[in-house]
Symmetry: C2
Subunit: 208 residues, 2 copies
DNA sequence: GTATGTGAACCACTTCACAGCA
DNA sequence: TGCTGTGAAGTGGTTCACATAC
């Protein structure tokens, strides 16, 4: 049953969760689909329909208990535990990822970082000892990590992804500008600012 | 007419363009929708349908001329010119964006960078003199920039976006973890690795 | 013969609208 | 009375399959 939930729905749940987190911090106890929708630019019906795939979390005539719904969403998404990640590629981009302070508070922890440059291997970046990428498989054998982050140039990215897949990584966050391929049991999401820019220009190119 | 083209189609065109660029570099002159689809994980029908919104670029029995189709796509997307961008937020993330070497080759140039931290204002980062964010509007009055990049913390991001909109920016690349709001004539795309991670965990949380 | 271009069929997601419950 | 939960209707996007063109 859970397999028939549209992926777009799953993609929206973390957005709802983030808004609820904010409301909770502000001390709000209850929110309805109307207000939540306004904050997120989503229709109230969308929110109610999305949530209905997983249960009945609201109270008619009242709305949703903020803390309760947030807990439910975290449960659904698997965010009640910590997730370990490995990073491959410690160039400019990789360093920024290591330094980024937005992962840890959400339970995503980078436990190892790899590169293929002898000048970088052995150095320490943001508290992480950089290891040779040749040891990726060995490291993943002894230290468990479910998620891989790819921050290498496009030319070597698919190879890195293949290694990660072979080592049992279950999800990949790909920063490389390629159409990455992975078997169906491995999830991939691309972070690709250039693609984002290149599609927005279509809409603004003839403005004013 | 161009207004009725689905946004998903526009989002795929840069992906096609990137693949064509690669094929061109490899010296390939012709490609068919079958092969292009295999490389990108897209069905051939999808590609043909997408392209049909804009014209007839192929030859039956043969396929598409790589260089020709690439030119057409660049024309359609508005990628035959340079685009100027302003960056607001020169923390860790902003520095990585300034240092990123993937924008310039694609014709996206950061022409000014702003921050609100007196310790950062006046310093030079990657060749950019960092200016006070108070001067954003004034700078945009004299130096034209169509695109804004937001790399500030979530709490201040919406304010920055509002300023950019007020100053006539037409598209925004938002790295802040918020549900950003902008008027319909301003395009926004979010770059949000945490959301990407938080949705992938749904699929992998019960694996093996 | 081969691969495009495209109406038509299909499928998926969104929105509607209201019954049902607090 | 107010807002959720949800079948049903509507909308939008994808895939099919074949006529068309090289």
């Amino acid at each position: 049953m859970a397999l028939e939930i549209p992926e777009v729905v799953i993609d929206r749940l973390p957005v709802y969760g983030r808004a609820l987190d904010l409301l909770k911090q502000q001390g709000r106890e209850v929110v309805n689909s109307q207000e939540l929708g306004e904050r997120l630019g989503v229709t109230p019906a969308q929110i109610r329909k999305d949530l209905s795939y997983f249960g009945r979390f609201g109270k008619q005539g009242r709305g949703y208990n903020v803390a309760r719904l947030l807990d439910e969403l975290n449960q659904i998404l698997g965010l009640t535990r910590e997730w370990s990640m490995v990073l491959v590629g410690v160039g400019q981009l990789g360093r920024a990822i290591l330094a980024y302070d937005g992962f840890t508070p959400q339970g995503f922890r980078i436990i190892a970082a790899f590169d293929d440059d002898p000048n970088i291997i052995g150095t320490t970046v943001d508290g992480h000892l950089i290891t040779s990428v040749d040891e990726l498989a060995a490291t993943l054998l002894e230290r468990h990590a479910e998620i891989g982050i790819v921050a290498v140039p496009g030319a070597t990215a698919q190879g890195v992804i293949d290694s990660m897949v072979a080592s049992g990584v279950k999800a990949i966050l790909n920063y490389a500008p390629i159409a990455a391929q992975a078997p169906p049991h491995v999830r991939i999401k691309d972070i690709d600012p250039v693609l984002a820019l290149q599609s927005m220009t279509f809409y603004i190119k003839d403005q004013d």
